[in-house]
């Protein structure tokens, strides 16, 4: 069992499922011969041939609409958008069709498509390569939005997403693509969708996060645990539908919560989590729920981008403030 990176885990899951299920077909820009600009589809063309591993013309609405048609006709397409910032032309197809075809036809047709895209900032790429607009998709009824934050979860959640009978938006934190390696058993076992992962149990405070911010959150937790604060860390993983049960029972236990995400604060998914905590666990709260997030600005170009991402000291500070609140 090899130690692999998150992007390798994506590749591995694709290979596994393509082997297991001949109806899985992958498509996108530069995904075949080039193996994807991040190499998430490396080697798949050789293994599965050009019918099932398809470089598309450069047109994202097309990728969206085409994959929808394929899925309705019984294939299981896994389509890649090269970066989240280039998914926007496909939003119409995703919102108006992928999310609705089952409902529109009272279940006669369905759309088992997976739309993959790397997302998030911190990789020194040009403008539009740093988006974290998962909230747009998490607002749309009929979609699932899944975000892995480790190689193991990338592998298991991608398998689950492909097998899911409904459309899944699978967002891969590009900042974590090669951040850390992990042993991943290539056993074809899916992880559950619609469930949070509790990465660390603790009794004092709940940290809720997802995607690349797992990195800073873990680092902050390391600092804070040393100071004797027992943190619980939840990786939301499936942002839609949201498993509030896990989050609420954690907050009911700890009474304190900090939500950390990279997306702009206003309208970020953190808002919803915070609102639901306030609605359903107000009396358990010993302190206001804090949100440590990206700013309500456009992600800066490379020279300033790191200042956009919430920092470890900032998270540590929020945890302390929340702990000290009386």
């Amino acid at each position: 069992m090899a130690e692999i990176t998150l992007v390798e885990a994506v590749d591995l899951a694709l290979a596994y499922e393509m082997q297991a299920d001949p109806s899985v077909v992958i498509l996108g820009e530069d995904i075949a011969k080039n193996g994807g600009v991040f190499r998430a589809t490396q080697g798949l063309l050789d293994k599965f041939g050009p019918d099932r591993v398809r470089d598309t013309p450069l047109a994202e609405s097309m990728i969206g609409g085409l994959a929808i048609g394929m899925a309705i006709e019984g294939l299981k397409p896994v389509a890649e958008f090269q970066f989240m910032g280039f998914l926007y032309p496909a939003l119409d197809q995703i919102i108006n069709h992928a999310a609705r075809i089952r409902n529109r036809t009272r279940g006669h047709l369905s759309c088992p498509v997976v739309f993959r895209a790397p997302f998030g900032s911190g990789i020194h790429a040009p403008e539009h390569h740093s988006e974290s607009t998962e909230a747009l998709l998490a607002h749309i009824p009929g979609l699932r939005v899944v975000i892995p934050s480790s190689p193991v979860r990338a592998y298991g959640l991608l398998l689950a997403s492909i097998r899911d009978p409904d459309p899944v938006i699978f967002l891969e934190p590009s900042r974590l693509y090669r951040f850390a390696k992990q042993e991943v058993e290539d056993n074809g076992k899916a992880l559950p969708l619609d469930k949070c992962f509790t990465l660390r149990e603790g009794k004092d405070i709940t940290l809720v996060t997802w995607g690349a911010m797992i990195k800073e959150t873990m680092a902050a937790a390391e600092v804070i645990v040393k100071e004797g604060i027992d943190v619980e860390i939840i990786d939301v993983a499936t942002l839609k539908p949201l498993d509030m049960e896990t989050i609420l029972s954690s907050v009911e236990k700890t009474g304190r919560c900090v939500i950390i995400h990279e997306a702009p604060k206003t309208g970020g998914v953190g808002a919803d989590i915070s609102a639901q905590i306030a609605e359903k666990a107000l009396l358990s709260l010993k302190a206001p729920v804090m949100r440590i997030t990206g700013y309500d600005t456009i992600v800066p170009y490379a020279r300033l981008e790191k200042y956009y991402i919430p920092s470890v000291p900032q998270i540590v500070d929020a945890i302390k403030k929340t702990m000290e609140f009386a």
């Binding site: 013309p57 019984g74 119409d92």
Partner: protein
């Protein structure tokens, strides 16, 4: 300077507005029974249309888009399809859908505002698509599936003249061209996109030539000539099935009514033009031809009216008798299995459902 490429756009017509045969009859059209079948369908389409509008005017149906004057286009396309082909329609294709096993009462249910109108028994038919120009991409996707699975099947997708301005329409054609997909793009050019005339939609002299941008052939056909429509679409579908090559067919017709019942074309359309265009309308044309070859009589016409009306009345009754769906259906088809997190909302709906005026 040298010329490196050149292109031509052909126009096809068989039975012209003066009921003259201006080209050889394709073999299907030598069989009067076949033509009578097409004629019956066109009449049914027209009568259904009138009924739907009447229902809308009396508050018993929602917004409805008439197909008056465009019956040949849709009936011709529907007849060209083989059983195993797939249709990806827009929202004006009654004449096709009734040939794909879709019930008139389902069509009414759809325009009456009920999703169950889309729950067709033949599961491969696509439902109406409202976002203009978006559905040709789905057709390309279906065709991709056929190609990958090596099935000899074709897809037909339809949009309007307005739809050809959408980027999706072009993107669909482009991928169909480069991947050699078994798909036929039909454009029902009824000269209007709501109030915007064809001339303000694009400077292209023909809509058929849009296929040149995607590297495959496009052609025009007289959309008031059901024989020509049926023939050209059949050939294109065969080409799709046999050679896996796409075709664009511009079907030239005229919208003989408001865009929908929510529109008032008098605001922008000259009555004169519509009248002139009516001279070309497809039903009278075919009827006169059938009469000229002694294949149709006044008596048969009367019977047809009666049986069609009866069929329509039956479907109207079925439609009007359809009770509201359970409110919870809002949740029941959102996902294959309702996520736990939505159960609370589904309960809320049950609780508050009956508090609405």
């Amino acid at each position: 300077m040298k010329i490196v490429a050149h292109f031509e756009i052909p126009y096809y017509q068989i039975l012209n507005e003066a009921q003259e045969l201006v080209a050889d009859l394709p073999s299907f059209a030598k069989d009067p029974a076949h033509l009578i079948r097409l004629y019956r369908l066109m009449v049914l389409n027209r009568l259904f249309d009138a009924k739907a509008i009447a229902l809308q005017r009396t508050g018993k149906l929602g917004t409805y888009p008439s197909t008056l004057g465009q019956e040949a286009a849709f009936v011709g396309m529907g007849d060209a399809l083989s059983k195993n082909d797939v249709i990806v329609p827009y929202y004006r294709d009654v004449g096709i859908l009734i040939q794909r096993g879709v019930k008139l009462s389902e069509i009414l249910l759809y325009w009456g505002g009920d999703e169950r109108g889309n729950a067709f028994a033949n599961k491969e038919n696509f439902p109406y698509s409202v976002p203009v120009g978006s559905q040709p991409l789905h057709a390309a996707g279906v065709a991709t599936a056929f190609k990958i699975r090596k099935e000899k099947r074709a897809v037909l997708t339809v949009c309007g003249d307005g739809g050809t301005s959408e980027g999706d329409f072009y993107e669909a054609m482009n991928v169909a061209g480069v991947w050699k997909l078994p798909v036929v793009f039909a454009v029902c050019n009824n000269q209007w996109a709501i109030s915007v005339p064809r001339s303000e939609q694009t400077a292209a002299q023909t809509l058929a030539q849009k296929a040149i941008a995607a590297g495959f052939s496009g052609e025009q056909v007289d959309g008031n000539d059901v024989i020509a429509v049926r023939d050209r679409v059949t050939l294109a579908l065969e080409k799709a099935r046999e050679k896996s090559e796409p075709t664009l067919i511009e079907i030239i017709c005229y919208r003989q009514n408001d865009h929908t019942t929510a529109d008032d074309a008098k605001r922008y359309e000259k009555a004169k033009v519509r009248e002139q265009e009516w001279e070309k309308e497809p039903i009278a044309r075919l009827r006169r031809y059938l009469e000229s070859i002694k294949a149709w009589s006044e008596k048969e016409e009367k019977e047809l009216q009666v049986t069609s009306e009866a069929e329509i009345e039956k479907s109207v009754a079925e439609y009007l008798a359809t009770p509201l769906a359970p409110l919870e259906n809002m949740f029941d088809y959102l996902y294959a299995t309702l996520p736990e997190s939505l159960e609370e909302q589904r309960e809320l709906l049950k609780q508050w459902g009956n508090t609405h005026g």
